[in-house]
Amino acid sequence: MTDDELIWRISGGSGDGIASTSQNFAKALMRSGLNVFTHRHYPSRIRGGHTYTEVRAASDPVRSRGDGYNFLLALGDSFARNPQEEAVYGNEEIKPLSENLDELREGGVIVYDEGLLDASEIPDFEERAEENDWHVYPLDLRGLARDMGREVMRNTAGVGATCALTGMDLKHVEDLMRDAMPEKILEPNIEILETAYEQVKEEYDVDAPDVTVPTGEHDEEQLLMSGSDAISYGAIDEGCRFIAGYPMTPWTEVFTIMTKNLPKLGGISEQVEDEIAAAALAVGASHAGVKAMSGSSGGGFALMSEPLGLAEMTETPVVLVEAMRAGPSTGMPTKPEQSDLEHVLYTSQGDSQRVVLAPGTVEEAYEQSRIAFRLAYEYQIPSILLYDQKLGGELVNVPKSHFDRDPNPTLGKTLSEDALAEEPHSEDGKFHRFQHDVEDGVSPRSIPGQKGGRFLATGNEHSPTGHIAESPDNRVAQIDRRTQKLEAIRADLDQEDTGSYAGPDDAQYGILTFGSQQGTVEEAVDRLNDAGVSVKSYGVSDMLPFPTEQVEAFVESVDEVLVVEMTASGQFRGLVQKNLGRYGEKLSSLLKYNGNPFEPAEIVDGFEASIVEGDGDASGHQTTFVPAAGD
């Protein structure tokens, strides 16, 4: 597990090209035949501040970030604040090196830019290197890049050094640079790449690299894609041609991908004054007959509560995406967390109805984005796609064939003018848009501009024509009908289980998780089974309507269950218990809310201490264990 994988971490400051360099390197690794997975860590700052991206590459499938990493490329933070002045953030100039040492594995490699970083400023650096058997290569990457063309190309020099020290064929990187870079900067970059590569080879004995790049082969074409890409493409393939939004990290990624692509498809994107407007625009566009979406992150989504309720009450189909980040309030804007679960499930007044799906992987993000649209339009209900900064931003390779599917632009139960003429109307010609007794609770709709279809959509309780009505009989009939839709949606979802299962069916123990932690849990399950612990996992995606039967069967089939989630209060465990109504004595929680997603080893350790060893101390340095109610 540790020998046949490269986990390469590139560090620097915001604005130093860490994201683009790592993306290119990940793609080069993917093209060389490897499976890749990236993990980003960055501050809410335009320039400067501790930033890194990890690229994990292996010949076997990778579903998660790894435990620590084994190769550090530390560039300088060119926007670090002056270390001579007292700063709350400490000495930023040295952070690309100093902040990354704790997680570097034994025997790991450090390449740092000695043109910008001075290792002697780090206390005990040499001792630590010796103790951990780190192989340290101080290289003047900045100087090299400056001599060859431009100082900013020092990232390329660092990649060249990486290739030399890991035995990676330069060809993969060069091919990629030729595809990705404009002519003007391509040649100097190639020159810098090759020079750095040669210099390292000359200066150091790299015939037996300390950390090597594994080799692999794909049996079909792969794409490097993030959760945000996948959600956007799912929306496009369902015929979504309207988006409205307001920028907010990390939802902005979906918003910008859609905004870039929609005009090419004759669609419309609107950047508007606030999130109330954004959601209301999506409702308005959908009401007028277009497949529409909006979205935001925690605080912005809070503003959408009222339009969300309006969509529910008027049965206007709409898809909202919610990209969670650490809260409450502004929280930690660039750090992942799953603690908006209850917010998204329960926000907006009254007995409101909605669909909430939480995909666990990039592939599921595409799939469930499509399901969210299909359900919204077929059942005339808002669908929310709940994900987080981790899933939205991580890059993984996905087979291209996964996306080779037919588009589905259908509007659901929407009537043509011919069909409308056959439907019930009032004497004055008003269409009965909200009929009491209809299959699955879904009353067919008309679109403004159609003859014979006029009705009133209102947030007030209403009669079949949409007229405001408060009679008890009508009230009960309408609420029962709207509620009935959720039962029909549950039955619909049951036809194709969106959950993800790992480990042996007859395992003794279970792990339940939801959303983006799924891949990490599954890696932990594999490791536990390899170590002789009998455990299986269930990554749940349907938050509402909840797959009660499936979850109950899973819990019933094992002795004990550990619920893994990135919240401080165990929101997902609460949802499970609310829906199951019992089993409290069987469920314990492993929580993490420090701003970083779980590493597989943290789940392995937590599971072993809490479940296998019983009452052991299951809380690691940054995780929290909450025992079962019966303990």
């Binding site: 004759g266 669609g267 419309i268 994107s269 003018e417 008003k430 403004p448």
Partner: protein
Amino acid sequence: MSTFSAIGDEREIDRDEYTPGVEPQPTWCPGCGDFSVLKALKQALPEVGRTPEETLLCTGIGCSGKLNSYLDTYGFHTIHGRSLPVARAAKLANPDLEVIAAGGDGDGYGIGGNHFIHTARENHDMTYIVFNNEIFGLTKGQTSPTSPKGHKSKTQPAGSAKEPIKPLSMSLNAGASYVARTAAVNPNQAKEILIEAIEHDGFAHVDFLTQCPTWNKDARQYVPYIDVNESDDYDFDKTDRVEAAEMMRKTEESLYEGEVLTGRFYVDEDRPSYGEEKRAIGEMPDEPLAERYWDDDYEWERSYDKFLDKHA
């Protein structure tokens, strides 16, 4: 049969077509100015040739929001302050619809003020009628954004310490291309102004003084009214921003001194509507987006064919 055959339907329209069978008699208080808005709309819509089923009326919450119950068109009775974002999206989705938004002064200038500013700024091709009665009516008489300074109510018992909103000036500054004020007590002018506003290609804002006899002024207090376009006492060019701004300032001040000035204050026929602006930069299709979903011959693009190569 085309998808939206109500659109562009050329026929004689009877005013009664806009009267719903369910509730033909509005529940507004006797003497309420809201009746005049309803009546003026029922007169204006047939004159501009817009049938009930090619018109989408979006309202907010309050007495004004009940307009949807008494004017029989396609309707969307939204939530407090949010009629404009719903309405303008419908217009973008299907520009062939006649889109009218309406709400009260609390709805439009208070809770929905941000949407008002931005919808005016963007100059969407639609009409926005604000029922301005200088009070919160349906919630029983609280001070509103247009209530005068010193206005006493249960929520401002010592008298409001706030200057009222200046809706016409705000609209002009925000970017509306048609700004008018009319009054319930002047039905002929109201009808004419609504016709102009509906026909205007851009954001037409009509501040409609609707007396609230129960909680605020009665009709007599809006009489006499003066039409600034016709009165010899006022001479200004409504196509000139600077002159319009000065006329608006006078109008807004004089309302609280008992002088009711009405008319067209600003008209810019040259400014392109938002839809035109967006089409000009290639961000909006020429054909209404809503039509596409009914076009059996349309080839729906797939991300697989259009966008995936860059990920390889």
